[in-house]
């Protein structure tokens, strides 16, 4: 194997190479051609080989399906918790209309339009007439 090519290959590959030997090799036309072709070959391999992130892209494409499951589970839990909280926090029905008035309203109640008085012994069957 030609010593010049060996020196230039080691230098291009980042291996230990004698500086003087590299300079001597680069003084020859064959040596310069070799380095130029070596770099072109390296570039050709680089541009035609899938990039490193192509490996991760496939894995990343699966990520939405993975995180969707716990997000959906959390949403279901929130809805269920809200339902349970709503059921347990429902206030008791007021005993009279007056009890449903919010606290703090000081306006007087309107006057009654009809007064119904219970009288014992009265026949409460439906009769014609009246309102």
């Amino acid at each position: 194997m030609d010593a010049h090519f060996d020196t230039l290959a080691a230098w291009a590959d980042g291996e230990p190479a004698d500086r003087a030997a590299v300079l001597r090799a680069l003084e020859t036309a064959e040596g310069r051609d070799y380095v130029v072709d070596l770099m072109a070959l390296r570039r050709l391999v680089a541009v035609t080989t899938p990039p490193a992130h192509a490996h991760d892209a496939h894995t990343a494409a699966q990520q939405p399906r993975r995180w969707f499951v716990p997000v959906a589970a959390a949403a279901v839990l929130c809805v269920a918790a809200g339902y349970v909280a709503g059921r347990t926090a429902v206030p008791a029905l007021p005993a009279s209309p007056a009890a449903s008035r919010p606290v703090g309203i000081s306006a007087p109640a309107p006057a009654p339009t009809h007064v119904i008085r219970f009288e014992a012994g009265v026949d409460w069957r439906e009769t014609t007439g009246g309102n």
């Binding site: 290959a9 070596l38 070959l41 035609t48 080989t49 899938p50 192509a54």
Partner: protein, 160 residues
């Protein structure tokens, strides 16, 4: 092997292994599967007690073995074809030319070349991965490059 060490090895080497296997088997999807298999085997078997260079050499040795087994089992797998990325026409032509030229090399010469150019391994690491001496690695690299220079002369002019 601890999960932490496996994670570290995966993070450090998965890209180089993947790209090496892409070139070796010629198929991106298969290379992804093989890459996963490499690190599964590393996790199960454990690495020998060695330095960082020895770790990489060992991982690429596993990758090489899996890749070669995949190619030898070609009868039971889709035929390996040239890598066709979502690229323009000229790049696809270059990829085809390079793929064909690589497969005119001997198996070992090709593996040495790919470990150097795609995997980025040093001569010593390639020697450890391929059961060679560093001198033999240099010799095979030189032979591969001379062969590819001759075979791909027109393509190399385009790649400038």
């Amino acid at each position: 092997m601890t999960a932490t060490k496996t994670d570290r090895l995966f993070a450090e080497h998965r890209h180089g292994v993947f790209r090496y296997l892409c070139r070796l088997v010629g198929q991106t999807e298969s290379a992804r599967d093989l890459t996963q298999e490499v690190f599964l085997r590393v996790a199960r078997a454990g690495l020998p007690d060695t330095d960082a260079g020895g770790e990489r050499a060992w991982i690429f040795r596993v990758a090489r073995n899996l890749g070669l087994n995949f190619l030898r089992d070609g009868a039971r797998h889709p035929q390996a074809g040239p890598l066709v990325d979502a690229a323009s026409g000229p790049t696809q032509e270059l990829a085809l030319a390079l793929h064909q030229a690589l497969h005119t090399l001997t198996e070992l010469d090709r593996d040495v070349f790919l470990m150097r150019e795609v995997g980025g391994l040093s001569y010593d690491e390639i020697a450890a991965a391929c059961h060679l001496t560093p001198t033999a690695v240099r010799s095979r690299l030189h032979r591969s490059r001379q062969h590819l220079r001759a075979t791909l002369a027109p393509a190399l002019r385009q790649a400038h």
